[in-house]
Symmetry: C2
Subunit: 328 residues, 2 copies
């Protein structure tokens, strides 16, 4: 069975989804929808139309799953419920605190229109969430640890760029080795914010900018930097463009728990991702879940789903027999 995919948006994540489709022979890209003037959007795949989002309803019967590549702040809360009235949708909504509200909105739209959508796919939320859930089910008595990085935090980079005198800036979140080792040792440590991650910034300053001022503004910024050991490096624009345009990311999920009648045996579950391209990996996760969503909808299982509701077999292009024979 071929799954026909539409993509809404054409930024980094959308290109990651587009690339992932080329790795999955049962997936077919039907159209890319844009809020911009379609004539100005040049996509990678040949022979696939770029269509104004105003005409998206014409694709109602031509697409099995619409992958919505928008921002969590304002795009997705509006788009995913809206388009779940027309399509099975998938998004990467990552504002953790608002997930219950977003879920309810998408669920209502799906159920009124016999659609099946999945929210909050990717790696966190997404693959990391699954790891947390499995590990909590298997080790009910224990502690969870999530570390992010090494990788770029978009929000922290934006915060740097808003400081007066900053021309460009990028912030790397880096898990601290001694904290990782303490967790791996099974000691079940209590770790402060400062003990878990450090922040390293690369800043291109405007000519004649006050570097001491910039450095102090960064290091004392509440919420973003004040609770962390932060390093600020001033570099040239040339070096910045050469060395800091990557989109690598990753992180670690641990659960450290005990079993036995006396809870005296300790177990450590560790999951980690080391990703050259955050948007391409995220796009690959979205496409694997698109396969599952199309199948659930075909079975008449409507409503909003999350990664927790999806049996892993539904994500594979292999038959149930083959995955049992080769991967179990």
């Amino acid at each position: 069975m071929t799954t026909r995919i539409g993509i809404l948006g054409y930024g980094n994540l959308a290109r990651g989804v587009e690339a992932s489709i080329t790795q999955n022979p049962d997936m077919k890209l039907v159209a890319i929808f844009t809020r911009r003037d379609p004539s100005g959007v040049k996509i990678h795949t040949t022979g696939v139309p770029v269509v104004s989002v105003d005409s998206i309803e014409q694709y109602k019967d031509k697409i099995d799953v619409l992958v919505i590549c928008g921002g969590s702040a304002t795009d997705l809360p509006e788009m995913t419920p809206k388009y779940s009235a027309m399509f099975n949708c998938i998004d990467s909504f990552d504002t953790h605190a608002n997930i219950p509200q977003h879920f309810d909105n998408v669920d209502a739209a799906c159920k009124a229109n016999n659609k099946t959508s999945l929210i909050s796919a990717g790696w966190d939320p997404g693959m990391f969430s699954i790891q947390r859930l499995y590990a909590n089910c298997v080790l009910p008595d224990g502690k969870d640890y999530t570390f992010w990085g090494p990788g770029v935090s978009q929000g922290h980079s934006d915060a740097i760029r808003r400081i007066q005198g900053v021309k460009n800036g990028k912030q790397y979140t880096i898990p601290i080795d001694s904290a990782l080792e303490a967790v791996r040792s099974g000691k079940g440590p209590s770790l402060t914010t400062r003990q878990k991650h450090k922040r390293v910034c690369y800043v291109v300053a405007e000519e004649d900018a006050d570097l001491a001022y910039i450095e102090n503004e960064i290091k004392t910024m509440p919420n973003y930097f004040a609770d962390y050991d932060t390093t600020v490096n001033f570099i040239s624009e040339e070096i910045f463009n050469r060395d800091h345009s990557g989109m690598n990311h990753g992180g670690f999920v641990f659960r450290s728990g005990t079993t036995g009648f006396d809870r005296d045996n300790r177990h450590i579950i560790e999951y980690s991702l080391k990703l050259d391209s955050n948007p391409e990996f995220t796009g690959s996760v979205l496409i694997a879940y698109a396969r599952a969503i199309a199948r659930l909808n075909a079975k008449g299982d409507y409503g909003c789903k999350t990664v927790f509701d999806i049996a892993p077999a539904l994500m594979s292009h292999l038959s149930d027999y083959d995955i049992r024979a080769h991967l179990l």
Copy 2:
């Protein structure tokens, strides 16, 4: 909802299941069934009967899930289909090559009797299988690596003990650090058997045994040791009993894959377990899946299942709302 559990057998794994029930307030141990004389079986939990397996049918309506703790060689191929005619069952069948046949036998018994059973739960097969499947779905172009240990291999320990002059013996399977590092580096190495694992043996010899003979018999044993770098340590019975009675185990699952239109971005997914007690961790996995199986059966979803067929939310005692709010 309380899930009423029966356990068949009372070895190490069964005790691990029994201990796990004490960590899950929604689980209740109803009875332990034995092929031995029940009067000779002393269990840990007070107030729970030990019952001859000959009377198991009397518990047909008193148990939601029967956890079958038997060996994969001869017990489970017979027991799981047999008892799936009376109960929802769960086992840890781990003879990989025979999984398709075992699945078909259990599936037929379940479907004829409106039961839901799950085979091959634990950590490998089990949690490791899930990791392989998710990683293959997300990274279709890549290579899988599974490493086992450090931990005791029961089969290899048995093989040592069959050698003339050996009083007792234990074999540890140990992943080789340089191989783990090569995989983590993203080089996607091709590794020989010898490069992945080494084998370390602790042997208590009979008085006057020929140690050189024993060492040579071990190191040249086909399939078991000949393809590995093997170390043989002769120790006293006292040291053996003091240092080598643990049941720790663990291992690593990796997938190393590429994405992008030119497949030029590399991603490494790594999952690892470090377990103080193999049977207690395995028992904890079985109990988490018992919850899922009871739910599927209550919904009328009959037949044989594997870990691939189970949405992770089904394994949690938390509500769907709570897992979305707290773990996504």
